[in-house]
């Protein structure tokens, strides 16, 4: 078969698949909020192992911190569980954006502010495992990579902005930036992970990164903005309607 013939066949195949899959894709995008989860089996074994190794120190520190916290304040165990469940359930909440669903940063970011990023990396990993087993999003061998992007880097960014900028900007902006940038970095990290595993034959890592980033930009950039606005509104509503709980959780005056 000549190159041209292959090209036209591929083109026809892709068009047919797009027509066939268009509706299903739209439905699945709407029902699958965690578009950024790397699926089971998508990463080659080597990269899956590398990302587990990157996540491991965070898990180790977080595990020790949780052990200490639970020994000193047994009641915080329930709160940790509730924050994890909150992060999981928030992803079922529809917010106005292209895909119409929230993602992690609000829940996990709030958890990182309450408990610190290390403990949240453990809770976040449990949540990711549950998403793999209850929703079939993500997977076991990609748990390391997904933890790094969603339960480590995202919350770290949120936590860092919250700690570093508070008092220098108005609270609204700090909260917006923390949530939106946490969402964006999660998306960038996932694109980096995919590009490292599958570099472009012609343009290498950068070309691959551009491709993956472009594919996800459609849903993730509007989502980051929505997520930021949503988190600002949540903080405002918390202040107005639940000041006691907010203080108890350490979201205010901490």
């Amino acid at each position: 078969m000549s190159k041209k013939a292959i090209g036209s066949r591929v083109f026809m195949l892709v068009t047919a698949l797009l027509l066939l899959g268009g509706r299903a894709a739209w439905a699945s995008v709407n029902s699958a909020p965690q578009a950024m989860h790397i699926m089971e089996g998508f990463l080659p074994p080597l990269w899956a192992a590398i990302w587990f190794a990157v996540a491991l120190p965070f898990w180790a520190i977080g595990f020790r911190q949780i052990g200490r916290l639970v020994r000193e304040k047994p009641e915080s165990r329930l709160l940790l569980g509730l924050v994890g469940a909150f992060a999981f359930v928030l992803s079922a909440l529809k917010i106005p954006s292209v895909t119409g669903s929230s993602s992690h940063p609000t829940g996990v970011g709030l958890g990182a502010i309450i408990f610190g990023p290390f403990m949240m990396s453990v809770v976040g990993a449990i949540v990711l495992l549950f998403q793999a087993l209850l929703l079939a999003h993500g997977g076991l061998t990609t748990l390391g990579a997904n933890t790094v992007s969603m339960a480590i880097v995202g919350p770290l960014v949120a936590y860092g902005i919250w700690r570093g900028l508070r008092g220098r900007l108005s609270e609204g902006w700090v909260v917006f930036l923390a949530a939106a940038l946490a969402d964006l970095t999660t998306y960038v990290v996932t694109s980096v992970q995919l590009a490292l595993a599958y570099p472009d034959p012609a343009s290498g890592f950068m070309g691959a990164f551009a491709k993956f980033a472009a594919i996800f930009a459609v849903t993730q950039i509007p989502l980051a903005i929505s997520e930021g606005i949503l988190t600002v509104l949540i903080f405002r509503a918390l202040r107005n309607t639940a000041p006691v709980e907010m203080r108890a959780l350490g979201l205010e005056g901490a």
Binding site: G21, E40, G81, I126, L134, L135, P201, F212, L233, L238
Partner: protein, 248 residues
């Protein structure tokens, strides 16, 4: 969101020892990851659909639909591999191309991930999370983590119910009629959900304290059975995947 869980409790493989199902899943995933033949992944996906429908008696429409959805999703993701991009070398500053090589390069992760995703779906659809946590206890996962996971599992459904009730209350009052309102309603729900979660944790703490809670949650383990047919099928699946890998 809770429909996979519902099937997990009601399928025919519910009382088979979770270790058996996990062993099957891990073996198949390992084979999919290790082999470089796209056919292995596709065969694994086919096996999983067949096992889910014939052995676990899951409706084909439900399980097949779940795998199909993941496949479509995956197609979107491998597009980044199938399309090659390079700068310069023609009239345009950037050139996009789909070549036979790039398609072949995209085939491998597609098949591998489809097999992996179908296997994960099989595990998710046939094994309730409590069984997996029980398995974790048997193999020595730290109790702190298991208790945390048990709590999260329980509260996911409690909070989900509370979320659904609040959202439907808002919907009947046109809370999502336009973007501004939708954003506002979503924020309000998330806020109340956090407060709800916090208050529930306090109430549960009181309840547990009054029953002498000393640090770990104890539950009765379920009685499982070993399923010889599933062991044979596991062997057959692994053997067939191995054969495809070596021979084709």
């Amino acid at each position: 969101m809770d429909w996979i869980d519902r099937f997990a409790y009601s399928n025919r493989l519910r009382f088979v020892h979770p270790g058996q199902k996990v062993a099957l899943a891990l073996l198949v995933i390992a084979l999919c990851l290790a082999s470089d033949k796209p056919l292995v992944g596709l065969l694994a996906a086919a096996w999983m659909v067949a096992l889910a429908v014939i052995m676990a008696r899951l409706p084909l429409r439900v399980f097949g639909g779940a795998v199909f959805t993941e496949g479509v999703f995956l197609l979107w993701a491998v597009m980044g591999i199938a399309v090659s991009i390079h700068a310069g070398g023609g009239r345009w500053p950037l050139t996009f191309s789909i070549t036979a090589e790039s398609l072949a390069a995209a085939q491998r992760p597609f098949a591998r991930a489809l097999g992996g995703a179908a296997t994960m779906a099989f595990l998710a659809f046939t094994t309730p999370l409590v069984d997996l946590l029980d398995l974790g206890r048997r193999v020595g996962v730290p109790l702190v983590l298991l208790d945390l996971a048990t709590l999260i599992y329980r509260f996911v459904f409690v909070l989900l119910e509370s979320l659904q009730r609040m959202v439907s209350a808002q919907e009947t009052r046109l809370g999502y009629s336009n973007m501004r309102r939708a954003m506002h309603s979503a924020a309000l729900v998330a806020t109340r959900l956090l407060v709800d979660a916090y208050q529930r944790s306090q109430r549960l703490q009181t309840a547990l304290d009054s029953r002498g809670y000393a640090g770990d949650l104890r539950v009765l383990p379920t009685q499982y059975q070993h399923s010889w047919p599933l062991w044979w099928v596991t062997a057959a699946v692994c053997l067939s995947l191995g054969m495809v890998w070596w021979l084709i």
